[in-house]
Symmetry: C2
Subunit: 212 residues, 2 copies
Amino acid sequence: MHAVIPFAIENPKTRLAGVLEPLERERLARAMLADVLEATERAGATPTVVTTRPLEADEAVDVPTVVDDRPLTAAVNGALEQRVPEYPREGVAVVMADLALATPDALETLFSTDGDVVIAPGRGGGTNALVVRHPDFRVDYHGASYLDHRNRSRAVGATLETVDSFRLSTDIDEPADLVEVLLHTDGRARRTLEEVGLELSISEGRVGVERR
Amino acid sequence: MHAVIPFAIENPKTRLAGVLEPLERERLARAMLADVLEATERAGATPTVVTTRPLEADEAVDVPTVVDDRPLTAAVNGALEQRVPEYPREGVAVVMADLALATPDALETLFSTDGDVVIAPGRGGGTNALVVRHPDFRVDYHGASYLDHRNRSRAVGATLETVDSFRLSTDIDEPADLVEVLLHTDGRARRTLEEVGLELSISEGRVGVERR
């Protein structure tokens, strides 16, 4: 299975600005990318990172990268257009780079589920990861992409399946999402949060994060 | 598998007060309970509802109910204390009544996973559903119950497993959670939201709910 991992380098994770400085957000974004790449490879897939600009030496990852400075939807569709015809049967996966909770098991379930289009829904109507095995299917990440992708599958005559995974449903966008990283992972993303001094805070029965 | 479904009748779902009137919140809570009961039975388990006071005739559910007006943790521990020794091998499940996205498949995975304690984590460190097969394990739903339950399992020498389910991770507490009901279910809870006039709203790429 070939897996495309889109990665926007500039000013990542702006919704975490309340708890992390710009350099810390960049560091977290790269740590999550590395975690996702490792889980993807351990799930038996071959990842390519599609970045908005060339990675610097200190950002280098140990997998092929392709530079495409178009917005997410266009860049992913470019990759699908090129690669789905090459791998019509096993398909091409697209996995978001901020799925810090992704495990090899969760991704393997996604990769091995039959269907022309297989979606791991994100919270709030997103599409956090998917597999495409139909040459005419294209993504649109704007708005409720899960609904759009359902409609597009129908429109091109592609069967659609979903996989039920808490881990794949959790993309890391907001401070509350960092709670999940601290609770459910032990990869680079979690170590990064710990190194910058974030820890779980529990008060009035609610769980959040705070600086040590 | 025996399944305990705790249900607090008084003033349910207060965090939905911004979008639903008190009577609408009660109606949603009962609809979710009915959906959870149906999914539990279709997953092959036998549910008992543990309510804080007797159900009125118009609230009646088609399964046995037990009245226990203690807080959630004490009521569940009372049920575990009584029932786990009766079913030591298959265990006793505890499923929250607001898991509107629960499907028979998701619950069957939970029920059939081996372990002295098997947890379906909720977002934010909660414990949305679990199976208990160890006589000394007790719950504590306050705070980050997922962490507490992990520690308690260790303390009593019980093995702990988790199941990875977006559907079971989604309890319906806040307005944003209603988006998931409208996107991913077609049960009574969704019909209730549609009947009171709530629908998805998509603006600026964000998905929410609004009154028609």
